[in-house]
């Protein structure tokens, strides 16, 4: 196994395969190409940051399917004007 780890890094490849399959099957079933989420993410960042500062690196756009319902989940952390995450400041 040592050489395999050297070749491919330490994470076991079956786990990687399962995770990649989960991701790709969600998109196959929903008939939504995976790269589309990246475009949606860019659009959302542009729309919200036009009004309030957002933490771009923290934005998560996910596709979710439960039963027969599909939805896009969007998590956009906001920044305070001083550049810190909003709400992280301690209050007396």
């Amino acid at each position: 196994m040592k050489i395999v780890k050297q070749l491919f890094g330490s994470r076991n490849s079956a786990d990687t395969a399962k995770q990649r399959l989960r991701f790709v099957l969600i998109h196959d079933r929903a008939e939504i190409p995976p790269g589309l989420l990246e475009l949606i993410k860019d659009d959302i960042i542009a729309a919200i940051s036009a009004r309030v500062p957002v933490d771009r690196d923290g934005v998560v756009v996910q596709f979710e399917q439960q039963n027969s319902e599909s939805r896009v989940l969007v998590d956009v952390p906001l920044l305070a004007l001083n550049g810190e995450r909003k709400g992280t400041k301690r209050r007396p």
């Binding site: 050489i3 491919f8 490849s13 079956a14 990649r20 991701f23 196959d28 995976p34 790269g35």
Partner: protein, 262 residues
Amino acid sequence: MESVVITITSGKGGVGKTTCAANIGSALAMLGKKVVLIDGDIGLRNLDIVMGLENRIVYDAVDFIEGRCRLKQALIRDKRAAELYLLPTAQTRDKSAINAGQMTRLCDELRSDFDYIIIDSPAGIEQGFHTCLAPANRCLVVTNPEVSSVRDADRVIGLIEAAEKGPAQLIINRIVAARVKRQEMLSTDDITEVLSTEIIGIVPEDENILMSSNRGQPIVMNGKSPAALAFQDIARRITGENIPLQPLRSSGSILQRLFGHA
């Protein structure tokens, strides 16, 4: 150089067409060639996931053909090589979404930008196969050392010749030297004799292949396992280098010592 369209096909499914396409394309790109891989298997695309580029797809070849995007928008650049691109196909359509004339025009449009255009054909000998055959300058037929895939390879080689796209060249995939030695598996000589077709490569069975597709990293990008070396040789033969076919080593000895597998 003049652009070459290479169609990789087999007749039988599951013999390793997509693995061959991904690795030969990657190996050619690593030799400094400009390469685009086209997934020809509309409705059952897999070249994207084998290449590890599945999460980059926005548009595909059918979107381009039906006018929903420009060709450049559908091409996915693989940053692991200097000039390697994937043109994915549609997952939610069927083989009739692209016909032979459209595939030929698509390839003609790519010719000015690429040295090699590699098409991963669907299994079978129906419309999807003929669509992928139409633009080919060169055809590689993948077979395993096993009776049903050799029989299907013969059928496909005949169809390639009938379409005046021959002579096809053969890739024997997943051969196990020790089993050939024990005479329980067809040898490359047996297969050449039966098919009377030139061999362009012999790829040994290699358990690293499964892990490379698990991760979406073509094995030629990750060093020197037996299959990686075989695919690199095939790529060099495609470019015109004269690389003699390697006699198969019995995997019971050297390979085990090299890779530590039982």
